[in-house]
């Protein structure tokens, strides 16, 4: 009897430690891996393939990290996709003159500036983030189309020159993503920003009363988000060797892949390992995609499965309390 108590005690202790969340994530990853591995052992989940899945997933994970800052505060940003497109194109444009530096700084700087712009507009106009970013999404998308026309290289928006593609493959894409993840961990653990974003998220008014400058940190949140989006743009454009300027809100689709990772992150926040959750979450999603192809299921069903998996995970982890008001 007493022993059992001790056991349950120590289990409880463990259950609340960050290792528990980490364990759950690893188990989930292994589960999906094993699932598809069993169904199609021949062409899924060998070490080589797993690596290639991971390579694909990291770019979305970077975006997911950025979105975490905003989503955790209860805000949202629809202009992420549009910013990816615009920043990439600016990066490509600058890379024509300045090579890698142009590419890198084009993406990161443009991304961050847009973030600042969003933040200012949000706090100045005092419009809910969801609305203001929809408007910005429309604007950024069309601006991207003008940027393309500035590209006179004959390959508008494409990284045709094969010696500027380093970030499209190992090791440089890992390096960039790795830096992003470390930065994320750093921001969350070793700066006020992470703390304050969480505080604002859990109760804006109390946080204000504790002396948190809410407006300021929401702004910072936007800037950080779009800085990470800049990194994601760098990875995406290198990965796809080019970017396509779109119209008609089609950039919206780009919002959601990173967002899935963010959902994971938010879900595992209470275990104190959001970044791991984001990275592994995106990895799981990409793995599902590849698994389906391996099973020769048309990728058209992919969205269906992704949606189902997300919904399950969210409803297992993100539940509200009874009687709590959820909008």
């Amino acid at each position: 009897m007493h022993r059992i108590n001790i056991v349950s005690e120590s289990f409880l202790k463990f259950k609340t430690s960050k290792y528990f969340g980490f364990l759950v994530l690893v188990v989930m990853t292994l589960f999906f891996w094993g699932f598809f591995r069993l169904l199609s052992p021949s062409n899924f989940g060998t070490s080589r393939l797993v690596i290639s899945y991971f390579q694909t997933s990291i770019q979305y994970a970077v975006g997911g990290c950025g979105l975490y800052f905003i989503v955790v505060m209860g805000l949202f940003d629809f202009s992420v996709g549009a910013n990816i497109v615009l920043s990439s194109l600016v990066g490509v444009l600058l890379s024509r003159q300045f090579g890698y530096w142009g590419l890198i700084f084009g993406c990161l700087l443009c991304g961050t500036l847009i973030g600042a712009f969003n933040g200012i507009l949000y706090s100045r106009l005092r419009i809910p983030s969801m609305i203001v970013t929809v408007g910005l999404m429309l604007i950024l998308e069309s601006v991207a189309n003008y940027v393309v026309t500035l590209d006179k290289s004959g390959f508008p928006g494409k990284l045709s020159n094969s010696n500027i593609l380093a970030f499209g493959h190992a090791p440089w894409n890992y390096l960039a993503a790795g830096i992003a993840f470390l930065l994320m961990v750093f921001l969350l653990r070793f700066t006020k920003t992470g703390t304050y974003c969480n505080a604002i998220g859990s109760d804006e008014l109390v946080a204000k009363n504790m002396g948190v400058n809410v407006e300021r940190y929401k702004f910072i949140g936007f800037v950080l988000l779009h800085f990470f989006v800049g990194i994601m743009a760098l990875l995406t454009v290198s990965y796809g060797r080019g970017m396509l300027a779109v119209t008609g809100m089609s950039s919206m689709d780009r919002n959601f892949k990173p967002l899935m990772g963010t959902f994971f992150g938010v879900a595992f926040k209470k275990y104190g390992c959001p970044v791991t959750a984001i990275v592994l979450g995106e990895f799981i999603i990409i793995m599902i995609f590849n698994g389906l192809v391996a099973l020769n299921v048309p990728t058209t069903i992919n969205d269906f499965v992704t949606g189902a998996v997300l919904l399950t995970i969210v409803s297992l982890t993100n539940r509200g309390l009874k009687g709590s008001v959820v909008k």
Binding site: F44, R124, G154, K158, S160, G240, V246, S250, V293
Partner: protein, 369 residues
């Protein structure tokens, strides 16, 4: 802040007055999936040239091949007072609403890259025949094109062929897919001892990163494929697919064919990234444009109970030399200059069709001599 925004608005609208200046020129609308992607921008380029040469006003509506937007675009153009429009629809059934709109608003219409399938959509076909405003359709022999590509691949010794499309259920893709299947059948009939297989298609969207991830998934799932068909998607899908193969170090091992020309095709062909390309079809809308233009001018009177059908040839490029020529006359330059364009506008419909059929790299070379 609000003040500032209002100022922006006023400025924005002020500059519009320039556009808004009233005009009596004929106005032709273009309903296209996207006027900004690789293929779409090429189409826009040649259409703008034609419009300028013929002193016609031209306006674009992007409908992203979303059915309701396609039918909507026709209404938008009609409302804008277009005298005629050319459209690249996504499913044939949409043409029903489109043609009705055009008939009601006396706006001539011609399809490009598309034609209504007589057997699959008999009603739409009938409607098209009856409507005095449906001028005709310009389209490629998608099926032949499909089987041609397979022939090329098979000849290069490919036996396991993967297929990457863009959006599921797209009319053109379905035709090309049919073509590939036919090609494989004919080959297997001819060589029962070494058959070729065509995998089911996966869909890579129209952007290069999705194109790459899908291609990677395909190749990861079937490491023994020796050929990949990127059926289309405007070029970016192909770029992505090539990136995938390149990064997996399979360049040249997996032969890639596609129906979208790339800006850097020469390098790709030289480096073995690409096996062969059919394409150059961006001039297709030009002929649809000509049909409508002449219909508006009253030069063409469409045959009763039927409509004009212009078959547009694919250009095939299998070597970097071919491509250099193509690049010279089709990329840096347009296949028709202003003079030729205005001349073309005066042709009778059959001659126009001939002109279209005759278009090839050599053809342009001769004209440029």
């Amino acid at each position: 802040m609000k003040k500032l925004l209002s100022v922006i608005l006023v400025l924005g609208l002020a500059c519009t007055v320039v556009f808004a200046a009233g005009n009596k020129k004929p106005l032709i609308g273009v309903s296209i999936w996207s006027s900004t992607d690789t293929l779409g921008s090429q189409c826009k380029r040649i259409l703008d040239a034609a419009a300028q040469a013929l002193d016609v006003d031209i306006m674009y509506v992007d409908q992203g091949h979303v059915s309701e937007k396609v039918t909507g675009s026709a209404e938008t153009l009609a409302a804008a007072g277009c005298d005629g429009m050319i459209i690249c629809n996504s499913a044939s059934a949409e043409m029903n609403a489109v043609i009705n709109t055009c008939t009601k608003d006396k706006m001539y219409v011609a399809q490009f890259f598309r034609i209504i399938d007589k057997t699959a959509n008999p009603n739409e076909y009938q409607l098209a025949c009856q409507s005095p405003y449906y001028v005709g359709a310009v389209h490629e022999g998608e099926i032949d094109n499909g089987s041609n590509l397979i022939k090329i691949l098979a000849a290069k010794g490919c036996r396991k062929i993967a297929l990457e499309g863009w959006n599921s259920g797209d009319a053109t893709f379905l035709l090309r897919w049919k073509g590939y299947k036919q090609g494989v059948e004919t080959w297997n009939k001819a060589h029962p001892q070494d058959k070729a297989v065509l995998l089911d298609p996966q869909y890579g969207g129209t952007t290069s990163d999705t194109g790459r991830s899908t291609a990677e998934a395909i190749i990861n799932a079937n490491h023994d494929v020796d050929a990949l068909i990127v059926a289309g998607g405007g070029g970016d899908t192909l770029i992505g697919a090539l990136a995938a193969i390149d990064s997996m170090g399979l360049k040249g091992k997996i032969k890639v064919v596609s129906t979208d020309f790339l800006a850097d095709l020469d390098q790709q062909l030289a480096s073995g990234g690409m096996a062969a390309e059919s394409g150059g079809h961006y001039a297709d809308p030009l002929f649809a444009f000509m049909l409508v233009y002449n219909a508006i001018k009253g030069n063409y009177h469409k045959p009763a109970g039927s409509f004009y059908e212009v078959l547009f040839p694919y250009l095939y490029v299998a070597s970097s030399q071919d491509y250099d020529a193509y690049a010279k006359y089709f990329v840096t330059d347009l296949p028709y200059n202003a003079k030729e364009l205005s001349a073309m506008a005066k042709l009778s419909e059959p001659d126009l069709a001939k002109k279209a059929a005759a278009l090839s790299i050599q053809d342009v070379m001769q004209r440029r001599k």
